[in-house]
């Protein structure tokens, strides 16, 4: 499955400035692993003990993966996987 992983501005220093990375993967976890294979420093920035750090949110086509199957959330051809900081917002 070819998908696009969108990298937030705060992490582009470890992706050589790239904001969108095309990878293959059938789940969110696989897609992220494929990105980490290209940019190893990214793994440490956003994961901890095999899971996502607590201030990292990941969305598949706009939907938070915590409402789906987390890193096991399945992907379809052309899906967008968006990584964003969770610390924004707040009323």
């Amino acid at each position: 499955m070819a998908v696009t992983v969108k990298i937030p501005a705060q992490l582009r220093s470890v992706t050589d400035g790239e904001g969108e990375i095309e990878v293959e993967g059938t789940t969110v976890g696989e897609a992220l692993d494929a990105v980490f294979d290209q940019h190893d420093d990214l793994r440490e920035r956003i994961t901890e003990d095999g899971g996502l750090r607590r201030f990292v949110n990941v969305y598949v086509s706009g939907e938070d993966i915590r409402f789906q199957d987390g890193l096991d959330t399945e992907l379809e051809e052309g899906d967008e996987v968006t990584i964003l900081p969770a610390v924004a917002g707040g009323e």
């Binding site: 920035r45 949110n57 938070d64 924004a88 917002g89 707040g90 009323e91």
Partner: protein, 409 residues
């Protein structure tokens, strides 16, 4: 200026005081740090008392060198002793901090004043925000007062009163078809590519500092003393945690003596990720899809949830949730006993206070402060059908027939 740097709350890495909100190393949230080594508590108290009649009297504890120009200064809202409310609840000493008495009728004027002053200092010309309503009112009004451009993003199904009280200021009001959490995600994405100051995204570290002024005022209005317990609503958890930070700063600096109050958080059952995590003993919150009349608290993925949980647990407090019916009853209870008409969020706070009193969780010797963060006229729908109007013909007979029937005379 006592403000020194932005520091990551998770890993401690520090950054200059600029428009930045997330740590590049660990993605943790950034917070303003201060150096108050030179501060003399007695002198600081005198300076505050001689200061302005609003939040800028606390400028030394905010990230500014001097008081910014402010045509719409919020703060110094009434702290009212609520004896009739206390009596109804079987409590000893209850105070209500009525923060509806701000320029746009909610506590949001405090955080927006700080965020926009910082935005201007950093050279931004366009202000924006993601809002559940009160923030929208505050941003639109202040941008208008200062002659700045603004974009305000809200869920499109917001209460009509909150939409009207935003659009009137001439802002670009954008109704997003989705929840607040969708609006928030969109704004986080928009923020990357536009040279705008999103008060609660890239300026969030400054914005949240404004909430500390509610703690400072409480201490000052209680005669430089602390409450034993506070009850405060939780949406993102930012107000709740910064209220704790405000008390903590002044205790540490010697401006007030005593312990941090017990912190009780208030959520609506229809959106209670923090109360649910508290109850279950979790360290992090599981996001929820909101379904409640308390729309200003309808944040399913609270950014400061983890810190709110820590604060409630550390201080011997708790985080509770109440149903929509309890919220309506809370609005009534506050109105009937204090003459203060609050919006649904204040109904949540009052209802949680009542619930705690009912459960015997509050000792009658305690001094309790409840934070009423917004105005009842903004959520009128919640009071509909909670009473009946007596409609009569314009005659004495008509009046007597309706209100003084013979049997009761």
């Amino acid at each position: 200026m006592a403000a020194e740097a932005l520091v990551c709350k998770e890993c401690g890495r520090s950054y200059p005081l600029e428009a930045r909100y997330v740590c590049e190393s660990c993605f943790g949230p950034l917070e303003v740090s201060y150096d108050h080594a030179q501060l003399d508590p007695a002198e600081a108290r005198r300076k505050i008392q001689a200061g302005s009649r609003g939040i800028w009297r606390y400028a030394d504890f905010l990230p500014f060198g001097e008081r910014p120009r402010d045509p719409l200064e919020p703060g110094l809202t009434p702290l009212v002793r609520a004896d009739r409310l206390a009596e109804r609840l079987g409590l000893g000493e209850v105070w209500v901090k009525n923060d509806a008495a701000n320029p746009t009728h909610s506590f949001k004027d405090r955080v927006v004043a700080v965020a926009i002053a910082k935005a201007q200092e950093l050279g931004f010309e366009t202000i924006a925000c993601a809002s559940t309503g009160n923030l929208a009112n505050a941003v639109a009004a202040r941008a208008a007062a200062l002659g700045l451009d603004s974009y305000v993003f809200v869920p499109s199904d917001l209460e009509e009163q909150k939409l009207l009280a935003t659009g009137v200021y001439g802002t670009r009001l954008v109704g997003v078809r989705g929840t607040y959490d969708d609006v928030n995600r969109l704004c986080t994405q928009l923020c990357e590519a536009r040279p705008w100051a999103f008060v609660n995204v890239n300026l969030r570290p400054y914005y949240s500092q404004g909430s500390k002024t509610l703690a400072f005022e409480t201490v000052e209005q209680l005669g430089w003393a602390l409450p034993d317990r506070v009850v405060c609503p939780i949406a993102s958890g930012s107000l709740f945690t910064k209220l704790g930070r405000g008390f903590r700063e002044w205790i540490d600096l010697g401006l007030v003596e005593g312990e941090l109050p017990a912190f009780n958080g208030a959520q609506a059952s229809g959106c209670s990720p923090v109360a649910t995590a508290f109850e279950a003993g979790w360290e992090v919150c599981k996001p929820q899809r909101p379904d409640t009349i308390a729309k200003s608290l309808a944040i399913g993925d609270p950014a400061d949830g983890v810190y709110a949980l820590e604060l409630a647990r550390q201080t011997g407090g708790a985080i509770d949730a109440v149903t929509d019916d309890e919220i309506r009853a809370g609005i009534r209870l506050l109105a009937e006993t204090t003459g203060i008409f609050t919006e649904t969020a204040g109904g949540v706070t009052t209802a949680v206070l009542a619930k705690l009193a009912d459960a015997g969780a509050i000792d009658p010797s305690e001094r309790v402060v409840a934070y009423i963060t917004g105005e009842g006229l903004k959520t009128l729908e919640a009071t509909r059908e909670s009473f009946r109007m007596h409609e009569i013909d314009p005659t004495i007979e008509g009046f007597e027939a309706e209100l003084e029937p013979v049997a009761t005379r």
